[in-house]
């Protein structure tokens, strides 16, 4: 039993963490949530067939736990805005990095207006798709489509500097 469980952990731990991070934008919180999901699975090991449904149980647990954590965070945010989750660490922008960033901003500028608006609200302001949809009076599906379009265009425009990007990110880590 423990062998199966360990195998399951090895197969899914890193992927679940990336999924949880995408939702929470916080590495430590993502770790905690993935761990809780595995603890839940362990407690239910008698009732659940780890081999056949373990994986979907884990993904669903992580998803639910992230949504709950989001809700709690929102309550905290409204009561004490600047003490809540630390925003992006005030990273100092060295002048050298500026050229790359400038290129990306220029690329964003070339996006069609609606597409740009949706992309900025999601990526730069960190808003949920549902929030963006109600702010712009469009459907969530349209938000999804515009985001997909934005990423597609950006990838095409920035194709030439993607290798530099990879370098600079490794450098700044």
């Amino acid at each position: 039993m423990e062998g199966l469980f360990k195998q399951c952990f090895h197969d899914h731990y890193e992927r679940l963490h990336r999924y949880a991070f995408a939702m929470l934008k916080d590495n430590q919180q993502a770790k905690d949530i993935v761990q809780s999901a595995f603890v839940k699975l362990w407690e239910k090991r008698k009732d659940i067939n780890i081999v056949s449904v373990g994986r979907s149980y884990l993904y669903t647990s992580v998803y639910r736990l992230c949504l709950n954590s989001f809700r709690d965070r929102k309550i905290k945010d409204s009561s004490n805005k600047y003490l809540a989750t630390p925003m992006a660490a005030n990273k100092y922008d060295p002048a050298e990095e500026r050229e790359i960033r400038n290129r990306i901003y220029q690329a964003i500028e070339t996006l069609p207006p609606r597409c740009k608006e949706v992309f900025c609200k999601s990526r730069l302001e960190g808003k949920k798709y549902s929030e963006i949809a109600s702010e712009l009076s469009i459907s969530v599906k349209t938000v999804e489509v515009q985001m997909g379009k934005a990423l597609k265009i950006l990838r095409e425009i920035l194709a030439d500097i993607i290798t530099t990007l990879i370098f600079s990110i490794i450098y700044f880590l």
Binding site: K6, F9, H10, Y13, E14, R15, H17, R18, Y19, A22, K25, D26, N27, A30, V34, Q35, V39, R55, S56, Y59, T60, V62, Y63, Y82, L83, M87, A88, A89, N90, K91, Y92, D93, P94, A95, E96, R98, E99, I100, R101, N102, R103, I104, Y105, S122, R123, L124, G126, K128, Y129, E144, M147, G148, A150, L151, K152, L154, R155, I162, L165, I169
Partner: protein
């Protein structure tokens, strides 16, 4: 564990995933799709663009072995061990009770003389803008964006203690009797009366003190240094090391002082300082512009005044929209 043949992985789905909007089934589909190295390469490229924008942290892959050992420790223990646990817990409970009683007694005895009980904390700072404030003793503090200071309601009696997160500029009212002490993590900064800037950076974690007038002492339990006027003292949190430099970067303090001194400086670097001081984003139409160099001094001038001077000197044009300054022009050689 089969891939839904009706669902294709495209940028729409990848966007949902990166924005944290993917449902569990979609996340599983993406993870299946990523087992192909070609797909992983495509995903990495999109993720790189996503990550290179400001605001928000970057995903760091957790360590598998660490993760497993942490998880193992939290898993409920087996039955044989349970009895032992129970016994152990009894002892633990007993000693906990003893500690509780002890503290209760000491608390009670302490109650005779009015001790410090439940002091209210006052927190100041803002995400969006630089905040100017006066402390109860009359000292001036300028709290940078994204930074906070915290002190108790009895600040000033008998000494002046506060803690800082981020960056702030202090102009301290002199008083020999009531030392002014700032704590940043393990480091303490003690002043008598002076003006200086304290900044904590993450990655690497460094605390920097720049002194514009007077004298400041930086210390931990183990070491200390004295930073004089015109000097910069740094403390590296990880190693616990101190360093002293005989210069002060005036431009980095301009969010508080409104003084700039650009000495044959590239527009790229000037932009970094202006962005910090005025809370704007500066975008150049081409990278050649950023190579232009400038020498100029500004004291207490507005952003538009400074931009006007730069525009006239370098023969460029600028426009401001909300918080974004766009610069256009030929660039310099």
């Amino acid at each position: 564990m089969s891939i839904d043949p009706n669902r294709t992985i495209d940028t729409l789905l990848l966007g949902k995933y990166l924005a944290g909007e993917a449902e569990p089934e979609e996340a599983m589909d993406i993870d299946d799709w990523l087992t192909d190295p070609r797909n992983l390469k495509e995903f990495n490229e999109i993720e790189k663009i996503w990550n290179s924008l400001p605001s928000g942290s970057i995903h760091e892959q957790p360590d598998l072995t660490d993760g497993w050992s942490q998880l193992k420790n939290t898993l409920p223990v087996k039955k044989q061990a349970k009895l032992f646990r129970l016994l152990f817990n009894r002892y633990a409970a007993a000693s906990l009770l003893a500690i509780f009683i002890y503290t209760a007694i000491t608390r009670l005895t302490h109650y005779n003389n009015p001790g410090p009980t439940e002091l209210k904390y006052i927190t100041k700072g803002s995400f969006e803008k630089t905040l100017k404030d006066r402390l109860p003793d009359g000292s001036e503090v300028i709290i940078s964006r994204n930074s906070t200071i915290q002190y108790t309601e009895n600040f000033n009696k008998p000494d002046r203690k506060l803690s800082l997160n981020g960056e702030s500029y202090f102009n301290v009212v002199p008083s020999r009797e009531r030392p002014f002490i700032i704590s940043v993590d393990k480091l303490k900064i003690k002043v008598v009366g002076t003006s200086f800037n304290v900044k904590k950076t993450t990655s690497p974690e460094i605390i920097e003190v720049q002194v514009q007038s007077g004298l400041v002492k930086m210390y931990t339990d183990a070491k200390e240094i004295t930073v004089k006027k015109g000097q910069t003292g740094t403390y590296t949190i990880e190693s616990g090391e101190f360093n002293l430099k005989d210069t002060v970067d005036i431009n980095s303090l301009s969010y508080a002082t409104s003084n700039f001194s650009f000495n044959d400086m590239s527009l790229a670097r000037i932009s970094v300082y202006l962005e910090k001081a005025f809370g704007v984003t500066i975008l150049a139409a081409n990278n050649k512009l950023l190579q232009c160099r400038l020498t100029a001094q500004f004291e207490n001038k507005s952003l538009t005044y400074i931009l006007d001077v730069i525009a006239a000197t370098l023969n460029i044009e600028y426009s401001i929209q909300e918080n974004t300054v766009s610069i256009k022009g030929k660039g310099c050689n």
